[in-house]
């Protein structure tokens, strides 16, 4: 089983993201489970979302404390993402520019970055001033995890949206797929990083 935890802000589209990833996982012949942890839903509030993908039926219904991947869609939640539980070989994917990523070197995990905000803004994908970073992440998560491929994503987008929106979304997903890049390897834990991870 592969478990992914997402940290985002209400309005960034994480729930749509996990639903689309789950649908793509279904197309790949896997068992899937996607769920947000709901609070009082509101734009701008921190949201945690979860995705499980497995070869066999999924019985777990609890939250994910030892994720294989952590997706940080909003850098402000980096500390929260680190303190909510990780394992030794957890892999992080950040929404970050190269410059922002250079400030994440203290994190003792293998980490990737995708500038989902710029991709969304370039393509005019914005709702009430909030860039829709979810769709670029569709491609980035597919690339880093290998759980779903772009064909499955294309099918799911074309099934879910009218043609114009589906093609624009597919373009955003493609850009996320090709531009996601590893910026650091896992490293030995330091005292600082342990303190940061709440250990």
């Amino acid at each position: 089983m592969v478990e992914i935890r997402f940290h985002s802000l209400g309005g960034q589209g994480a729930v749509t993201l996990i639903h689309l990833l789950a649908m793509a996982g279904d197309r790949m012949g896997r068992f899937v489970q996607a769920f947000p942890f709901f609070g009082a839903e509101r734009r701008g509030a921190p949201v945690k979302s979860y995705l499980r993908v497995d070869e066999r039926p999924i019985y777990l219904r609890s939250q994910i404390y030892r994720p294989d991947y952590v997706v940080v869609m909003n850098l402000g939640q980096t500390e929260m993402a680190l303190s909510e539980g990780t394992k030794e070989n957890t892999i992080f994917i950040f929404n970050a520019t190269e410059e922002e990523a250079s400030r994440l070197n203290h994190i003792p995990f293998e980490a990737y970055r995708v500038d989902a905000t710029s991709i969304a803004l370039d393509l005019g994908m914005e709702v009430e001033g909030m860039p829709l970073v979810n769709i670029p992440f569709l491609g980035a998560v597919a690339r880093v995890t290998g759980l779903v491929n772009m064909e499955a994503i294309a099918e799911v987008l074309r099934e879910s949206y009218p043609p114009d929106r589906a093609e624009a979304s597919l373009e955003a997903a493609r850009r996320g797929f090709v531009s996601v890049v590893k910026f650091k390897e896992a490293q030995e834990e330091t005292e600082d990083s342990r303190a940061l991870a709440g250990g």
């Binding site: 947000p36 709901f38 019985y59």
Partner: protein, 403 residues
């Protein structure tokens, strides 16, 4: 057709497949998606159904009662405070022996205000005469709503059925579900033909005054109908498997109970999490199985005696409490076993949506196996010490109120 959908939307699909004729409901978190989806089916996708947007849950159930009395197939959905607001009408529906199905998303009751998973709402309504079935997967939700109409409309039953599933862990979680063909569902579930109905051409009164010499007979008939329902539920599950496909147990569902010496008993999604705990315990050399109570009313007494009577350990998980007694399910399992087999350990956990990971279930079950568990446990409390009101805080409060 295969969908990846929320548990709530799955209910709406089941309602359409069951060819429900009247839906009467008031939205409440976490049920809202159910009625939103049904209205969309009606407004945009040609689902022929009368949607009555009432002003409260009390009226929602009143309209359901009227619709069922007029001989049509009726549906509603609610949760927590909505359910307790219709409490009086729950008795009217069952007492009038009216077939209908209502979905309830299991959610905590306030205060404090809490929208998350808890089974106190429906378990507090266990004595209303409604049949209660608790689901644990999306496919089971779909199949159970359809089966529930067969059970409810069976002339030997004629009771309303509540289909229950957990808030968020099921209601808002996307998982796979296979929608059966309409023709297959139609073969399994023919149109509702009530032997009597309210009709202005033939005026009659129902629900009127009933004197002591007759009232008890009506209660006895409800009691008998629940007994009859056990067989009807079993038959419906089997026929559904043959005609439509999909089986989730009848009154109970078991997991690895064939060679088990220890059993975890639970309802709803906790019973699936418990499977993972049982797998872990088996790997550690403890032959452990899971009994999921699917039909809570009627209560599967014979099945539980048969399955649990010879166990060495029984752990009952509860997401609801009878204050002044203990875990509701645990109390009933103990009463059913009546001293046969081991004294079940009662584990109350996950109230108000507090997460219950399989690791905790495995840990407490292993403690029970080793004779190290208390008879009544509240293990998720131990995850924090926020339940301890400090003496300092109480003293400070006293000083404030004196001043």
């Amino acid at each position: 057709m295969r969908l990846v959908e929320t548990g709530n939307h799955v209910v709406a699909h089941a309602v359409r497949l069951a060819r429900v004729e009247v839906v009467s409901a008031y939205p409440i978190t976490p049920q809202t998606q159910v009625v939103e989806k049904i209205s969309r089916f009606i407004e945009e996708e040609g689902f022929e159904c009368e949607y009555i947007p009432v002003e409260s849950e009390h009226s929602a159930m009143a309209a359901m009662i009227a619709a069922a009395a007029a001989g049509v197939r009726a549906f509603s959905a609610t949760s927590a405070h909505g359910l307790v607001y219709m409490y009086e009408l729950l008795h009217w529906a069952a007492g009038s022996r009216l077939p209908m199905v209502m979905a309830n998303v299991n959610r905590a009751l306030g205060p404090g205000w809490n929208i998350w998973c808890d089974q106190q709402d429906t378990m507090s309504a266990r004595d209303t005469g409604w049949i209660q079935i608790y689901c644990s997967t999306h496919q089971e939700i779909l199949d159970t709503v359809i089966q529930a109409y067969r059970v409810s409309e069976d002339p030997s039953v004629f009771l309303p059925v509540m289909v229950c599933y957990d808030a968020f862990t099921m209601s808002h979680t996307y998982m796979q579900v296979d929608l059966p063909d309409q023709e297959a569902v139609d073969r399994f579930l023919p149109p509702f033909r009530s032997p009597w109905r309210m009709d202005p051409r033939f005026p009659l009164t129902h629900g009127s005054v009933i004197y002591p010499q007759d009232y008890e007979e009506t209660r006895f008939s409800i009691y008998r109908a629940h007994e009859a329902a056990k067989e009807v539920i079993r038959r419906a599950a089997e026929e559904y498997r043959d005609l439509v496909g999909g089986y989730h147990g009848d009154l109970v569902e078991t997991y690895f109970m064939e060679e088990a010496e220890h059993a975890v008993v639970a309802v709803g999604s906790l019973a699936l999490e418990a499977r993972v705990a049982a797998e872990e315990l088996r790997r550690a050399g403890h032959p452990c199985g899971v009994v999921r109570i699917r039909t809570y009313r009627p209560f599967p007494s014979e099945e539980l005696r048969r399955l649990l009577g010879k166990m060495r350990t029984v752990v009952v998980l509860d997401r609801a409490v009878s204050f002044g007694l203990g875990g509701i399910l645990a109390s009933e399992v103990r009463a059913t076993l009546g001293g046969e087999g081991p004294r079940p350990v009662s584990v109350i956990a996950g109230l108000g949506g507090r997460d219950v990971p399989y690791t905790l279930i495995a840990e407490r079950t292993e403690a029970a196996i080793k004779g190290q568990a208390m008879e009544e446990e509240w293990p998720t409390l131990a995850l924090s010490d926020r339940h301890r009101v400090s003496k300092e805080a109480l003293r400070a409060l006293g000083e404030v109120s004196e001043a």
